[in-house]
């Protein structure tokens, strides 16, 4: 029997990520990770790709993790955990282990969208019984805010600095969640820690499936996004309300949009909260803002169209909540 997803019940569980880690004050990643660990009712074993989370939670001789945890290089968290999972299966077959254990990998957007993409894709294709969690803060924040393929269009980073010649990142962000869905694995989802019940429901679904699952979680970074330390959760909410970061899931390939804002807010509501987009609000950048809105609309419309097709096919009239 799993713990009901109510804060009063969940708060009785042990926190599996302790305080005393050295993530920055107000970082979104540990909020997301705490929620992931709280959602699980089965024993977990984790691998962690290099990144803020990996470095800052395990500064030797300390660790903030209360679960077995393996350090990995930047590119191979998915490969590492798939090896552990294969060993678990072998030991189980030999009767040396009988407990049910689930395997989980954590990576930032750098370690997932870019450097670890091939090992992640391979692990998903091989069908390991594992969950990969990406906390996406939209750049290589650990090394000082370099652009990644998750960096949104127009964002100012140290490797695409906003100036007279270029105006922040000239390219669109890569849609990794949909790339993972294209692997046709049992479960793929996207969420934020502000929507904690949505996040935890998705983590449970991911852990329940027998096979690979992937969840992409937005994790605000006040250093890289140039925001105050206190509004990580509010930013996640605005990201969902502007459809910059839609909440959706693929269950055995079937797409459901989990949150449709009553009133879709303009993407500028999200962009204006952050210093990394400040230059987009200068008078000569109107076309850039327009393009940012078009990019968001394009992705959102695509999602809605696909979800509508699924709803029609399965005979459900309303696909969202």
């Amino acid at each position: 029997m799993s713990t009901p997803l109510r804060l009063k019940e969940l708060s009785k569980k042990e926190d599996l990520l302790t305080g005393g880690h050295r993530m920055c004050a107000g970082c979104g990643a540990p909020i997301a990770i705490r929620q992931v660990l709280l959602a699980a009712d089965v024993p977990l074993v984790a691998a962690n790709a290099t990144g803020c989370l990996e470095v800052s939670t395990t500064i030797y001789p300390y660790t903030a993790w209360k679960i077995p945890w393996i350090h990995s290089a930047f590119e191979n968290a998915a490969a590492t955990i798939s090896g552990v999972e294969a060993m678990y299966k072998a030991l189980k077959k030999k009767g040396k282990i009988d407990r049910k254990i689930k395997f989980i990998a954590f990576g930032g957007d750098g370690g997932t969208y870019d450097i670890g993409l091939q090992s992640l894709s391979g692990a998903m294709e091989r069908g390991h019984d594992m969950v990969y969690i990406c906390y996406d803060n939209g750049a290589y924040m650990n090394t000082g805010i370099q652009r990644s393929s998750a960096t949104p269009f127009g964002a100012n980073t140290t490797t695409c600095p906003a100036g007279r010649v270029i105006h922040g990142k000239p390219q669109k962000r890569k849609n990794l969640t949909r790339i993972m869905a294209a692997h046709d694995i049992p479960y793929v989802a996207q969420t934020t820690p502000a929507h904690w019940r949505d996040l935890m429901t998705k983590v449970r679904k991911a852990l329940e499936v027998d096979g690979p699952a992937f969840i992409n979680i937005l994790a605000p970074c006040n250093r890289g996004w140039r925001t105050p330390t206190n509004n990580a959760i509010e930013l996640c909410r605005i990201a969902a309300d502007t459809c910059f970061w839609p909440l959706y899931e693929y269950e055995n390939g079937k797409l459901t949009v989990n949150y449709k804002p009553k009133e879709k807010k303009p993407v500028t509501d999200f962009l204006k909260t952050q210093g990394r987009f400040k230059h987009l609000f200068s008078p000569d950048s109107k076309d850039l803002l327009k393009q940012a809105q078009e990019n968001t609309d394009h992705e959102w419309d695509k999602l809605l169209r696909e979800a509508a097709c699924w709803a029609e096919e399965t005979g459900t009239t309303e696909e969202g909540k």
Partner: protein
């Protein structure tokens, strides 16, 4: 924590004590401190679920005092606190005052 010599270290830099980061004090990072005002608290526990540093103590589903040994003073809890009748149950006050 007393640092170990090289002969005492675990092979492969294994850390056998799970969650020993609790012994490391990050409370000294804080520039402002969250203050809990119990009479405005509706026990929604949003502060607890949204704390990046596991620094809101909860016992029997009721929140208690902050863990100032680890709280970095980010202010997420105060920002998310719905309070009661427009009055916040968590306010940030500058350290040293």
């Amino acid at each position: 924590m007393k640092l170990k010599g090289w002969k005492e270290l675990e092979i492969g830099a294994i850390i056998p004590e799970a969650g020993n980061a609790e012994q490391y004090n990050t409370g000294s990072w804080r520039a402002s401190r969250p203050q809990w005002i119990e009479e405005n608290c509706i026990q929604c526990l949003f502060c607890w679920i949204y704390c990046p540093d596991s620094s809101v103590t909860v016992k029997d589903s009721k929140r208690g005092e902050f863990d100032y040994g680890h709280c970095k003073g980010c202010g997420v809890c105060a920002h998310e606190c719905p309070g009661k009748k427009g009055k916040k149950a968590i306010v940030m006050v500058e350290e040293g005052n």
